[in-house]
């Protein structure tokens, strides 16, 4: 396996944006613990902007750091802008990920997408 770089390891030891938002406006869940990765994204949205985001992650180093970094990247952005963030963007911000981790554990933007869908659905049913 390729090794994790120092930037990744530093974030892994101290990931931020981790936890839960009790009164979240949208929640996105992706992955499956039987496959080794599970991520929940909680978002607070105000005026179409992601005001706050928290992540809960079960998974390997890559799963945890991509969760933390994705949240960094989208906080304060509009919903449209945040949906443009790709897996590659997240990996690039981390200085790269081991090749085999790029697809299996890099699920954070999928979790965000689901959280935004959830937010939109809740908004429309209100």
């Amino acid at each position: 396996m390729d090794e994790y770089n120092e930037k990744v390891m530093a974030l892994f030891k101290n990931p931020h944006n981790m936890g839960e938002i009790k009164d979240a406006d949208g929640i996105g869940k992706v992955g499956n613990p039987v496959c080794g990765d599970l991520m929940y994204a909680y978002i607070k949205v105000k005026n179409n902007i992601i005001e706050d985001i928290k992540m809960k992650t079960f998974g390997c180093v890559a799963a945890i750091v991509t969760s933390s970094k994705m949240a960094d990247l989208v906080k304060g952005k509009t919903l449209e802008e945040s949906l443009k963030i790709t897996k590659q963007d997240i990996a690039d911000e981390l200085g790269g990920l081991p090749r085999e981790k790029m697809h299996c554990s890099n699920l954070a933007n999928d979790a965000l997408r689901k959280a935004i869908e959830d937010y939109n659905e809740k908004k429309n049913t209100k």
Partner: protein
Amino acid sequence: MRVYLDHGATTPTDEKVVEAMLPYFTEIFGNPSSIHEFGREANKAIQKARETIAAKLNANPSEILFTSGGTESDNLAIKGTATAAKDAGRGNHIITSKIEHPAVLRSFEALEKEGFKATYLNVDREGFVDLEQLKESITNETILVSVMHANNEVGTIQDIDEIAKICKENNVIFHTDAVQSFTKVPLDVQKIPVDLVSMSSHKIHGPKGVGALYVRKGTPLKKLNDGGGHEFGMRAGTENVTGFIGFAKAVELTTENEITDIARMRDKFVNTVLEKIPDVKLNGPGISEGKRLCNNANLSFKRVEGESILMRLDALGIAVSTGSACSSKSLKASHVLTSMNIDPLLLHSSLRITLGRENTDEEIDYTIESLEKVISDLRSISPL
């Protein structure tokens, strides 16, 4: 503090082993095949090393072939037996278990591609091979059974005495991969009718790149590499003299006491972790039943993933391993735990801790303390 708890992967070479090897690099450097004095003294040394390995198994020295390690021993035993049977026009059915080391499993798959039929035996929840299935699987076509002595991930010690007897009754050659158990679990080839035994040096504080294969006298085996007549014509290539010497010294240095002491520390580790950390499960046989390798602990920590635990412990100076997904290139869950039918939710949460004789109680205490913190941290960010 730096704590090494991955002795199932490899062990530090004992300083006394290094000391014993050194003269054979520079002073006694002759080629054991040479008939001059330089060669003769090297040859004498490797024959003495062969005697040491043989004595540990209660075998005859002429039944010990030195190899490059466990993987080569497994390949030679399995492919060598199968090819010899094929050449002699005997059967083409081979049997192994689902929880073998890749050196065995991949050798079986290679033989399947050549037309052999293979049966992979099931194991129970503690990793014990289904002996009834073994008996039912053996046919007139069966030529080889290969079942490991002790499992590398969960430490299950198979009843190889019984397996060997079943094979003998049916006139089938029995190979056991004893890489993890050699010198830890007694194996007397005069008492157990096993035909082939794989061993490795670096798992017992010897150098890497050397191992051995016990071949019971009269067992038909076809050599894998062509060349000179080394190792009774079975393994061509100039002998790894320093390696053989180091391996033998490592065997000499093993004691009964260290096994007792390692087991004591392992038991303390497992019992304390189970007591202090909630939602932890021990995979494999219980620690007090005598059917588990003395140095092995394999634990699943619910709601956290194995690689994350490993890397957090690594950051604290503690080396352990995980057979679970994400720690290896395949990203697949451990074939051993999967075959044992453990709860799928725990498959990715396992950690293997393997102790060695240089570990101390202080190191074990530090590891338990660190583990408590790491598990609690990772659980706080887990959605489960």
